[in-house]
Symmetry: C2
Subunit: 313 residues, 2 copies
């Protein structure tokens, strides 16, 4: 196998614990920065249920501060996007000259922040199409499975190889993205309509969106706004990649039609009274659309409603 | 004074009880069709608090069926718009050859139904810009006050005189509308943005809409859609009256800026878990806009969200 790498998981919620756990399972030397689950995992290990196979890490490395972990080969930052302002301070103690950083977070404009803080060349992004929940402390439930799309911030294919190698022995299915910005926007083509409507319609699952002709039609109209904004943003960044309108709409609805009673991440935050990732998933795409003079009235309305709902969290 | 009239109030909620009470106070012979408050009012009378003067009807005529009331000079139908399908049956026993009907309900397309059932010539409309709540049974609280705009379904000025005469001795401030459809749409210029956003932003008062730059701007964008749809609908009905865009926007925001912590009627229904008047206030205006090919993306999104929220009531 490839050389085992030292890895720091910054933000060991459901996503960080699951993917960090898979990398530890594959033989890497993984340290988890933990808050809520620190004591439980230290005493009882990390237990994961998954359709790709359950596993337990009996005695994982856990830490309560990034300084305890120190410099590593790879930082995987899986904080919620609402914690972006804390990310620099939490990540820095784990970064030395050759450290690479994989941003495993939802939304737009996050890698740009990491690139400002730590330089562009070491920044990677992972887009997880999945559903993972935390159970009682120390337990993580991986429910729905899809690939993780990996990209390099500068779309450097040689750099991307190093990220693919990291995951090569793991059970995680990986897709390589030749254009990170294109992949980000494609994921937003799903997240903006479905996360947005699932919350503003009162906290509903996605089957109720695709199964209701009016909401399905509205989800499609919102998606068309995102496609137009995304293509304008890609053009503004001199990216050749373009979102194929019909193909993406067909794929996103085809996917959602098979997903059953699915709770979007934003809807879970809403239902649990937690802060929703509004700026990264909605606010930054809206800001870019408005700067590029793309009309996005539905995205603007969803964003205004979600910001107001979020202000009461 | 003018000849006292016999009046049946069909739907004696807050609105019906208040305005019926004012007409009784002015000397008319008013019968109230009551459900929830029947026993309380029969025993203890109807008590009204109001900035225009508190009053009590010690022994008002109350009935549990329209047949008990029988034919009258004026029927005032103050049902919730969600009960429109029951209106014909509830009103008919009170209608004889010369009976006039005043529809005191929110939304678009209601007079048309009464005109189908009872003929156009006898149909009037009252638009109440007010805030009235029910307290404990037998108590009504009139909080905010504005005029009631009266119009005739066919805009016949002679007919309209009869409606103005009805209210002449009352303490209710009346405005005469030369174009009922125009007045309906003007009221929707307020109700659609403010009722819509107050619910979908999580159940907020209107001061939080006008006081938040993003929501204020969104309310204005929604209002512009309503103005455009209204003007197209007025033109389609060969009405000369036109909504003056700038004047209406200025007036509606000026009004709302002075209203303080105001709960819209739809927001009150939402907060109390009751059926919201979605079809009359949102669905029918949207339907007309779409028939006339006026782009109303924000109205469409609000309507879809409100219908979904309403389906859980």
């Amino acid at each position: 196998m490839n050389q085992p790498q030292t890895i720091a998981i910054i933000g060991s919620g459901a996503i960080g614990s699951y993917y960090g756990g898979r990398l530890a399972e594959a033989g890497h030397d993984v340290s988890f920065l933990m808050r809520r689950d620190y004591s439980a995992v230290r005493q009882g290990g990390l237990k994961v249920t998954s359709p790709d196979g359950d596993f337990t890490l009996a005695n994982p490395k856990v830490a309560q501060s990034s300084e305890e972990i120190g410099a590593v080969d790879w930082v995987i930052c899986a904080l919620k996007a609402t914690s972006i302002e804390e990310a620099q301070e939490l990540v820095r103690p784990c970064v030395s000259t050759n450290t690479r950083i994989l941003v495993l977070m939802n939304g737009l404009g996050l890698e740009e922040r990491f690139a400002e803080w730590f330089g562009s060349k070491r920044i990677f992004c992972g887009l997880a199409f999945t559903c993972i929940n935390r159970g009682v402390p120390g337990h993580v439930h991986h429910l729905a499975y899809g690939p993780v799309t990996l990209g390099h911030f500068q779309n450097d294919p040689n750099e991307l190889e190093s990220a693919l190698a990291l995951w090569a022995q793991s059970k995680v299915q990986i897709d390589a993205s030749p254009s990170l910005l294109h992949s980000r926007w494609e994921k937003l083509c799903w997240n903006i309509p479905f996360n947005g409507l699932s919350v503003t319609a009162g906290g509903i699952t996605t089957d109720l969106i695709v199964g209701n002709p009016e909401l399905r039609n509205m989800a499609r109209s919102v998606m068309e706004e995102v496609i137009e904004a995304g293509n304008a943003d890609l053009a503004a960044h001199s990216e050749d990649a373009k979102i194929d309108r019909i193909a993406v709409i067909d794929r996103m609805f085809g996917l959602t039609d098979t997903m059953g009673v699915y709770r979007t991440s934003t809807m879970i935050d809403f239902a649990e009274g937690k802060a929703m990732e509004v700026e990264a998933i909605f606010g930054e795409p809206l800001h870019r659309a408005q700067s590029l003079r793309v009309a996005t009235p539905r995205l603007a309305l969803l964003t205004a409603l979600l910001r107001t709902l979020n202000s009461k969290r």
